[in-house]
Amino acid sequence: MVDLTQLHDAILRGDAKKAVAVTREALAENASPTELVSKHMIPAMDEVGRRFECQEYFVPELLLSARAMKGALELIRPLLVEQGVASAGRVIIGTVKGDLHDIGKNLVASMLEGAGFEVIDLGTDVAPGKIVTEILERKPNIVALSALLTTTMPFMKSTIEELRKAGVREQVKVMVGGAPVTQQYAEQIGADGYSDNANGAVAIARKLVSG
């Protein structure tokens, strides 16, 4: 039997090859996909998040661990779908209109995937109308908006207004983030959640889907 602490450690160390190899081996030995995720992988990512909070880990380590997690999840996801296991929630994420920055947005997307969310990444420069269309088609639980510039932050407000006009605002929770965004601004524009870092964004998303 493959030692599953190796899966935990590979994610913690950001070793994508090892994480994938151990997962493949475990699945070949009929390990339970849900147990792999809930008992080994998500706890590993939670530990990554803890180390980030304590400043033992920084952005590169987060990215590498999320990448290792993602690699392993790609093998497991089809099995979870087959077994009808629900994800932690569905998130639509994007950088707002006019803004092409995506480092933070990608990091949050990876961390959310690592936490078991299904993430639909709309990329950068996403017009409010596009988000409305995606909400109607994909029925997400959460819309996550990113902006790096104070020049483009107002598009967070106009996106929320657009959701309201289209009558879909109440169908989703909206969370916002990005370097110049603040808790105060999030409240001012009527967003449901804000975090100033990628790890915090996971905690907010969990809170928002749990109602």
């Binding site: 952005v59 590169p60 990215l63 590498l64 092409l100």
Partner: protein
């Protein structure tokens, strides 16, 4: 009027030229551009320190040569002397002459990185500020070699693509000609950098009139915020950009 100008060095040539033509007597203090990289709390602390050192009663106003600059001026408090601040997200408004011109250019040219003499001469963070920069602290300014050494070849390549590759977010360099250039060296350098990155290049004519109004004391409240003694700067994230937060 006797004025004290505290400004980001990004405006060095433009402000020196404007001050030389101004009816006012202006004492200038330039601060390093690298203050922008150390996070808004630290940037504010450094700016406040400089503002607080201004001799009481000597000047009619302190001119602050900054935009909202990623919230770096949020919370700045005027002591005995009023502070005048351009209503601008960042320096590009002042280079182009109005926030409407910046807004129009920004919206019609996604992915543009601007260059001026200041951005070329003084754009790179140096010394202590570079070490304190957020880019450094989170590893965004690492060289590829540094990443390989720390994380191995495969991870380094991934991190490089994810964090350090500017080409994903930008596709054009725009040189703003302000009329303070000695010759075409700055434009040429920008053109060469664009070519080497495989980006588009454009030269646009800047408009120094807002900078001139700033130092001349023509402070229309639609264009400049006057922070009277005891008041504090707050962002609006609306068209007027900044406002007063009463203490």
């Amino acid at each position: 009027m006797q004025l004290k100008l505290i400004s980001c060095e990004i405006f060095y040539r433009e402000l020196c030229a404007a001050v030389s033509r101004s009816p006012n007597t202006v004492d200038i203090e330039f601060l390093p551009k690298g203050l922008h990289d150390i996070g808004c709390t630290s940037m504010l602390a450094r700016l406040q320190e400089v503002v607080d050192r201004v001799e009481e009663g000597k000047y009619e106003a302190v001119l602050l040569g900054y935009g909202l600059c990623n919230n770096g001026i949020v919370g700045l408090t005027a002591r005995a002397t009023p502070i005048v601040i351009p209503r601008a997200h960042d320096c590009i408004t002042l280079f182009l002459g109005s926030r409407q011109k910046y807004f129009d250019y920004f919206n019609s040219h996604p992915g543009v990185f601007f260059k001026t003499t200041g951005w070329i001469e003084r754009g790179d963070s140096r010394g202590e500020l570079r070490q304190l920069s957020i880019q450094r602290r989170i590893g965004l300014d690492s060289s590829f070699e540094e990443l390989v050494e720390k994380y191995g070849e495969d991870n380094a390549r991934y991190l490089w693509d994810e964090m350090c590759d500017l080409g994903r977010n930008y596709r054009q360099l725009t040189f703003i000609e302000m009329g303070v250039e000695p010759d075409d060296r700055f434009e040429r350098q920008t053109r060469e950098e664009a070519a080497s990155r495989g980006w588009d290049f454009e030269r646009v004519k800047g408009d120094p009139s807002m900078i001139q109004r700033f130092v001349d004391g023509c402070w229309d409240e639609r264009e400049f915020l006057i922070v009277r003694p005891g008041a504090r700067v707050a962002p609006t994230y609306e068209d007027d950009i900044i406002t007063l937060d009463q203490l």
